[in-house]
């Protein structure tokens, strides 16, 4: 239907979280004036949240970067694209000649399209000649990807969000969907109102806990013990699918030996969860005809996050609750394209579809396509890049669409690394904490200004179409990366992002059926072969592992990287809030600031009373690594001994508090367990001012 109120309308895919809502973006006078949900969006079915629908004003915020900036005599000056290109070419060439290609590293962005991420990885691998390429999924769901590949074979949800509607029971662990993934949160809520038996497992009593039948509050960092306890009860009480275990899995005997030590009483000791609740939760999941498990960063961002995901897979495997509607494993991917950025090979050790850089056949196929020799040595992961920069081994970085100085842990160390670089290129839509350390800042484009594809948390390729042009002389990321590569001597040979997708499909059997044309309005869930259908449900013909068998993992519980002591008696958990998104770069430039304008620390009434803290007081939060101040709010949704805050506001640099502890397999930071000391201070709470002189409805 054409609407006389708008100059133009396009259907695109939301650039906020990993749900992948399809949106209709309506433009008037060169600005987005309204966004409505696409009725045929498979993930959102005509719904969206306040971020996707309303938080679009950032796209024409007056502080968007509209021209390249170059560092000169201590400050930045406006520059032409020619000057910026010349500076980048001369510096990267100099560093590569002096220190070799491995002294240069790049970060692709899980906010960007598949085509952008693939171009970024080709820029590092082919143009520069190094495998030092990673993306921000490192700091969120890399443990999920690693563990699911180990246990089941493929790096993605085993089913789709529609499995929530088909399930009789579900477990949500370490996720708060009504805030972090609101459209899926609403879907889960509706399912509970229709009778879905929901078990929530989280140190905080999340909103969905009020709609579930049981809530478990384990101590932060003890998820492994909870999962082992559930598996123990399932095995002990015969809530298992013996035929499935025999025919489709391996390693069950080893697991059962380990499970002996995880009786509910022992689990209760470690986790603080009453033994009876462990029993009940196991029975709710085990006795359901179909049940799904949903998790988020509360599982992954731990020292043993990847192991916990393997333990989650154990429970699904022993119960045979996989490979059919209603029985799925659904990791809620954090960002719009956190699935795709890794699928596209923006990782230091793998090309597209997680094929290793030291796999000779794969490397040769890319060498043939790109016409250059490629390194077989895996590159640095994100935290290793910062370590190498501090050590002086890494000299230059190209950071695309990521504010590492606000979102990465151990911020002091990150800043030291950025300061230590000889040359830093930032490609972003705004100046950020990170761009302060840049030598060249390239003005890039927001999701509303580009074309390409995202892959959502259901493994679904979905089209992204531009509603607006980039502002000023800002360019699309596709244009920036391809033209910079050309200037550096390697022509990628693509006219449009559609050409890039065709190359990806040609070089990647699992995505060989993906093309912009076929993706169309309703998307394609990988794997998708050239002429075959896509795959809403995985593993219907066996697991993608040798022999088609899923692998049990006998991994014991181990203590987290940090623990409370006399000096730091409380445990800090971090996460997201409904109204804002990650570093807040976008949402803080919208009317969402009128709804929430500051960070706060959630604290239990007992702790607050002991510390003489009242709601609204400013408190100091100090960890072994740093200190912040923010407002305190008393709530009994958190357990005594724990505190919670988010990281959306640069006024409160939450990640200064987070230490260097990382996941043992994937180097994903342990954001979720930090010992802190909290005490009142007499200060005004820091807040983001509402959009000055910019009424929210213009």
């Amino acid at each position: 239907m054409t609407d006389e109120r708008f100059d133009s309308s396009v259907t695109t895919t939301c650039g906020y979280c990993g749900v992948g809502c399809r949106l209709e973006a309506h433009v008037r006078d060169g600005k987005i004036v309204s966004i409505s949900p696409a009725l045929d969006g498979p993930a959102n079915e005509g719904h969206t949240c306040l971020k996707g629908r309303f938080a679009h004003q950032f796209s024409r915020s007056r502080d968007r970067l509209t021209a390249p900036l170059i560092r000169e005599s201590g400050g930045f000056r406006l520059a032409t694209w020619e000057e910026a290109t010349a500076r980048i070419v001369s510096e990267l060439t100099r560093i590569k000649e002096t220190h070799g290609p491995d002294a240069i590293a790049g970060l692709a962005s899980s906010r960007a399209t598949n085509e952008d991420c693939y171009a970024m990885s080709r820029l590092m691998r082919a143009t520069i000649g190094t495998n030092n390429i990673d993306n921000c999924s490192r700091v969120c769901h890399s443990p999920t990807s690693f563990a699911m590949r180990r246990s089941l074979g493929l790096s993605g949800a085993t089913g789709s969000f529609s499995d929530i509607d088909a399930a009789d029971a579900a477990i949500i662990i370490g996720a708060n969907p009504t805030e972090g993934h609101p459209v899926v949160g609403a879907r889960i809520k509706q399912a509970t109102l229709r009778g879905l038996k929901l078990v929530t497992i989280d140190p905080r009593r999340i909103e969905l806990a009020d709609y579930g039948v049981l809530h478990l509050s384990p101590r932060p960092g003890t998820n492994a013990a909870v999962m082992l306890g559930l598996c123990h009860v399932a095995a002990r009480d015969g809530l298992i699918d013996r035929a499935f275990i025999d025919e489709q899995t391996e390693g069950y005997e080893e697991l059962t030996e380990l499970l002996e030590s995880y009786a509910p009483d022992a689990v209760s000791e470690i986790t603080g969860v009453p033994a009876a609740d462990v029993e009940t939760a196991a029975h709710i999941y085990g006795e359901a005809q179909n049940a799904s498990i949903i998790w988020g960063l509360g599982v992954t961002e731990h020292k043993y996050g990847s192991e916990v995901v393997q333990l989650i897979c154990n429970l699904a495997l022993m119960s045979g609750k996989l490979c059919r509607a209603g029985s799925a494993l659904l990791p809620l991917r954090g960002q719009n394209n956190v699935q795709g950025s890794s699928d596209m090979g923006a990782l230091p050790d793998t090309y597209t579809d997680y094929r290793r850089v030291d796999d000779e056949d794969v490397a040769r196929s890319f060498e043939a396509a790109w016409g250059v020799p490629l390194s077989r040595t895996p590159g640095y992961k994100v935290p290793e890049m910062f370590d190498a920069a501090v050590a002086g081994d890494l000299k230059a970085m190209w950071i695309f669409g990521e504010d590492v100085a606000q979102t990465d842990p151990n911020t002091t160390h990150v800043i030291k690394a950025l300061e230590n670089l000889e040359f830093l290129v930032c490609q972003d839509i705004f100046e950020t904490e990170t761009t302060k350390y840049a030598d060249v800042i390239l003005p890039a484009s927001a999701f509303l200004e580009k074309s390409g594809t995202f892959i959502n948390a259901e493994r679904r390729f979905q089209l992204v179409e531009p509603a607006l042009d980039p502002p000023g002389s800002a360019k699309t990321d596709f244009e920036i990366l391809t033209s910079m590569s050309r200037a550096l001597g390697h022509d990628m040979g693509w006219e449009t992002p559609s050409d890039t997708m065709d190359e990806i499909a040609r070089l990647t059997p699992a995505y060989s059926g993906a093309s912009h044309k076929r993706i169309g309005r309703t998307g394609l869930q990988w794997p998708v072969t050239a002429d075959g259908p896509d795959s809403p449900t995985l593993y219907t013909d066996g697991f993608s592992l040798p022999g088609g068998r899923g692998r049990f993992a006998a991994l014991p519980y181990k203590a987290p990287g940090d623990s409370a002591d006399a000096e730091f008696p409380l445990i800090l958990i971090t996460g997201r809030r409904l109204q804002h998104y990650n570093s807040g770069t976008m949402t803080r430039r919208t009317g969402n600031v009128e709804l929430v304008d500051r960070e706060w620390l959630e604290i239990h009434p007992d702790d607050a009373a002991r510390l003489w803290v009242q709601s609204g007081d400013v408190v100091s939060v100090r960890s072994r690594y740093g200190r912040i101040e923010c407002e305190a709010r008393i709530t009994d949704r958190i357990e005594a001994g724990h505190v919670f805050t988010a990281f959306h506001f640069p006024e409160v640099r939450t990640n200064l508090l987070i230490g260097p502890s990382v996941d043992v397999n994937t180097a994903c930071p342990e954001y979720k367990v930090t010992a802190v000391d909290v005490r009142p201070v007499s200060e005004e709470a820091a807040r983001t001012p509402a959009l000055a002189g910019q009424p929210s409805h213009t």
Binding site: D3, G46, C49, L50, F54, A186, L578, G591
Partner: protein, 206 residues
Amino acid sequence: MEVTVDGRAVEVEPETTILSAIRAAGANVPTLCFDERQAPFGACRVCLVGVEGARAPLPACTTPCRDGMVIDTQDETSRRVATAIVELVLSELPVAPEPHTELATIARSLDVGTPRWPGVTHTVDHDTRHPYLAFQHELCISCGRCVRACDEIQGAFALTATGRGFAANISAGLDKGFRDSACVSCGACADTCPTDAITEMTLLPL
């Protein structure tokens, strides 16, 4: 089972509503309180159709099909009643709804011009306290779509129907407004509203 819509036979599953059968047959009947994202409500009676053997017109959105049912979307009584309903609804509004709204679209399709019944209209009452969502209470026709969107799609239960008869309207958080209610600002209410009684601040007429 099989039903006939305007002389054309269609195969439908049991439990299919007459409205779904009509759409499956490629025919159409106007609806006002219906939104495919919500459970059928059957409040407005704009989707009335004739059914062979029935004593009176039946609402298409809530009536399940029966095998062999013969449905007439052009039934004269049904169209006359539906047209009168839309005219009565319009007669309560102080201004005609904006051309893009569903109510205006239906009025055009039924050829309802300026209502023939002058009289009391709703008092203009705007609430623009929320950064994104605005109430224009005078345009509310009490179809209940916003309340159901809030309950059945988002699950926030922030909106409720208030008042009776001519004073019937909608309210967020017992009249405290969206901001101080349980509203999570998802906008599902504005998206479904057929008259812009709830709309986006950016789309308010200047």
